[in-house]
Subunit: 375 residues, 4 copies
């Protein structure tokens, strides 16, 4: 079985997430990077292409056309540009007959996300969205524990995602990663769009319930910044569960501390990105359980998501690689992804969350319904 | 220097917090329990009195009168009844010329709290409120770090207080501690009044800023219960800091996981009741610091709050005892408590928080100002 | 039931462990400090006596005689002097008809310990030894788990006790606690006698097996010091289990990090003094269990050793108080202590361990039998 | 710069470490697997070759000859067979003009290791040994902290490596990974050779001092097993530091809990494989420091060993990949590896440790000198 041929748009020198996509895609030998429009600067794109043994292009439209014309051309595209290009590149790639794996968020706004959903549906091709945290074995185990009803009905979900790297206005001090993320034209939304969507998706992915209503405090803390850098949201889920979502990029000293707590009638589980290979389940009666990745007592999905024996830590790249592996399996078997790779439906929900929260917070609207998600 | 003579109202057989008050008060030999109206049941009160070597009374009014008349009578009273009696006992004791150490909340409602503030002021006697967590050495250190400006201006405070013990309707299953806590007549408020006030007070105590506005989701999760058992609140502090307060008694599997995070411009600190003897400070630049109780590098207040060498854990009773020791010092030195023992002003603020949050949540009022605190 | 009347020898101003004994003894109201020869300096002894509301004596022999003559005299004595007096005071107190609770080690050497065992036996009075760690609820639970056979046959025990406070020669810099601990005449042995005995006793207490043979590396790291300050010992237990014991007072930066691991055929447990209220059990198959103090699912001994609800940390003083409570129960019920309070038999075993290890290490003897314990 | 062409010997279906080598080698795009004698079974080798897009061979000697003859043949070989073939394959590959990256241990015995050292020296080619743990960023930081003298002179090193997976005789129950590891002919040594060598190497790598003398207890716990499955060793390092090394495969419930503590005059550091991205440094005076991988305040070596921003966990595969990246750099720059990739000198030292410890333990020899290492 030959590897699936992958192209990339974005990810040139200085990028953070492009190299992660490449490492993750190739980790299990299921995909191979063969082409890329890594940068608008032809020299930089060529440099990246040479380093990675791929065909380099300076223009992504040119690349899509050229690869489509080759018998050994790319079969799928990884979209790792700043957010404002996600829609155009993804849509064009799907229309050119390629599968798409897009970095989050799906688009810069809800309208684009809904339009992209139509494009995906019409294309008949696969579209995956790298909500990376769904790729962690113990997140998949958590989802299964909830789905199986071990905790009883879910009553409360708390998800926190503190980062501190935008505590100072580093976008004005030459920090490339910060520059585009705080620019409304390139990023669409700020903290809520960059990491709030991860938190939102994780809560729904594990909790198995959907946000219905919310009350948001989305704000800009660092003076002079145009987009939000801190957001705190009260949630109400279908079925009545309460929730809190906290995402921040001005939590000084925090690194990337995504943490999830899900409470049901009989117990609660918690997962923290700081120790991703373990999952804690606290019971109303009885000792707490710590479940460890790569253990024989885990469910099928979690077990399949580890490559090496228990006690040997796997991390962010491997979680990412699990999404790519699932994506590759679906391509190879000509079937939809099996529910573990986030799809455009999740992309639309996330953008609905972002737009609803930002508007309600700006307007001081209090509790509002989550609007704009697909039925 | 003889120990200060202490009486107690409440705390008879089966009580949780009464014995804690006794152990805490006597731990350092600064106070001695000499009398108590431990129970309305004369036999039970006598039993407790004998066990503790104190004079027993069946009626607290009778006790106040009798002790006031004795040359060796009680000088101070610990109020450890269910909430609905806090006001009456505290006020009567102050008026009888005794100092008061009251369990939280100060009263069952804001009106009583404000009236009690007047009583305290007029009495010229000391009134302390056992927001226990302010007695922990590392909480005091955290307060000092913030006050000293090490973190720069405070931008965000997150305080969580998950408990799970009311996940089932155990008040209908014979659990004495639960029975009165879910009874509006005896408790006043539910989860928010029982532990929400701890979280509120801790956030302000350490953060050094006051809550100005809030948006609350206070709800009852367990069917048939009259008072709230879960609350989630967005906060805005004076000076602009954002905050989130989470308190819950239906977080199944949680024990008593109070956790505080305070973020400033330069770093953030976090303290967790699960490991109370350490305090983590994460810096925007540089390694994280873990400060350990009873270390020579700590501030004066934190150092004074440990009894034994570093690495020897002290816990809840010792934290409680620190409040009593400060209280005893103030009595002995005929001066006000030095800011570390919560006073009636904090009691009023807490009740203002409770009433504002409960009303705003009930009315779907969105953001509202914290109303009713003392100026 | 009136409190048992306790006297103390040692524990005057500047002492660490004397005040701990007092707080622990009185915590549950089962004993009351009534007398003390707190210091050889009459003024200091008087000062301590006044602070604690007790009768002060300058000479412990005088105190024993005087208290024995009073109808309300002390019934038991806490021995908290430097080690070299443990034997004489304990023996005299027992012979004067008092029960004894002695700080560890039992004596300065094995010969004294064996002689004291005879005195105890002849006296018909109770003798307890404060190997404090046996008072922790989760240590008692660990013991019960092992005894019940949950782990299968025990195969390996690792116990570590790192401290760092003697990393520099602070005994020459005015540190009172250090001065006598490094003086052969006052302390008998160094690190191995001060904390190695705790580790030794803990391993046997929980593991339920006795050390038969050992191979020791006992050494003095800080130049100019006469007694050992670091020791590492290989162990062989009866029944074949292997073990390692590490105790050190030159592990710079370590606080009081006693840690125990016990491995059986089916799983292993670990307990750490840094988080004393939890116990981890890792199973060969299945999730790890975390057991929390004061939980309903614990065994009787562990449950009885907590005073307050789960999630409310108790610490060193409470563990100590558990030993005193058990001691008081035994006195009140005129029966031997029930196996949870270490006795002179454990004291003799510990001194046999110290002498065997020190001699074998000095002589380069390799593996030797543990010699001198009681049959 | 084209990737370096890598061949592999071993690593076919069912193998654990072969796939890790492949993923690690290819992760950064610096090497590419082009050939392999993955299994002695031609069908299996072909299967693996196809899956990984490489040329398959059934015989490794044939592969070496064929690849040497191709202009695009392999330039380096990864040796991932059971231990008994390490010597023959490594020596042949070096003699065929290929660089070698060998899994540990270097050989099955000391004589072979010393002979291999000669082969390496004569060959002029690079030889690297995958003591994986030296590839972790925070292990490299620890080494740098010690080397820089921050801790002062090193006084004590404790290294523990508990595993539990051989607690039962699973080698008789069809566990392929266990079968050869307990077979003297295939593995050479048991637990001490499989993971004891990791612990030994880590202690010396970070501590910067060499073991001079040791006293070992190497034993077989599971009945019927021929090789050791548990070992406990007292160490003396050059310069006088003391140490303890514990390695076990019968520590039931343990996963892969390698843990290192290094104590100097001024402080101590500890690193645990359970949280590999952090390093704790405890100081004699002052707060503890927690250093986090991928932070700007780390040394050059640690920073270079992370691929993604701080807070994004990297694990075992990435640590492994760091060794391969250093190896590839050295090949590309035609220079020796820079001290971070373990070499045959470390391989010889490890085998000297194994043979010295096993012999001394068997003979009850007590303290012996580490014999047979290269000068």
């Amino acid at each position: 079985m030959s590897p699936i041929r992958l192209a990339m748009v974005g990810g040139g020198p200085g990028a953070f997430i492009g190299p992660v996509h490449r490492m993750a895609a190739e980790l299990d030998g299921r995909l191979r990077l063969v082409a890329g429009a890594f940068s608008r600067d032809p020299a930089k794109s060529t440099l990246a292409a040479e380093a990675w043994g791929a065909r380099g292009y300076a223009d992504w439209r040119e690349m899509l056309a050229a690869e489509a014309a080759r018998p050994d051309g790319a079969q799928a595209v990884a979209v790792v540009t700043p957010n404002h290009l996600h829609f155009a590149v993804s849509a064009a790639a799907l229309q050119a007959g390629l599968h798409v794996m897009s970095d989050k968020p799906a688009t810069v706004n809800l309208a684009e996300a809904r339009e992209l959903a139509d494009v995906v549906a019409r294309s008949g091709h696969l579209y995956g969205l790298t909500y990376t945290y769904t790729g962690y074995p113990m997140v998949r185990e958590a989802r299964e524990i909830v789905a199986r009803g071990d905790l009883g009905q879910i009553r409360k979900i708390v998800v926190e995602y503190p980062q501190g790297w935008l505590s100072r206005p580093i976008e004005r001090e030459g920090a490339k990663q910060a520059e585009w993320r705080v620019d409304p034209a390139l990023a669409g939304a700020g903290c809520i769009g960059d990491i709030g969507v991860h938190a939102f998706n994780l809560a729904e992915f594990v909790g198995g319930v959907r946000v219905e209503r919310l009350c948001a405090d989305v704000s800009t803390v660092v003076p002079g910044r145009q987009l939000d850098d801190d957001c705190n949201v009260l949630l109400r889920f279908e079925g009545g569960a309460r929730g809190v979502l906290i995402a921040s990029q001005i939590s000084a000293g925090a690194r990337n501390g995504l943490r999830l707590q899900v409470y049901g009638e009989k117990g609660g589980l918690s997962w923290s990105h700081e120790r991703p290979s373990q999952l804690t389940v606290d019971w109303l009666d009885g000792p707490s359980h710590i479940l460890h990745a790569a253990s024989g007592y885990l469910g099928v999905a979690a077990q399949a998501a580890s490559r090496i024996p228990t006690g040997h830590p796997e991390g962010f790249i491997e979680a990412f690689a699990n999404l790519y592996r699932d994506f590759a399996d679906a391509i190879a078997e000509r079937r939809p992804t099996a529910g573990l790779v986030p799809s455009i439906a999740e992309g639309v929900r996330s953008m609905a969350f972002v737009e609803t929260a930002v508007a309600a917070s700006r307007d001081g609207a209090g509790w509002v319904a989550l609007q704009g998600a697909l039925p």
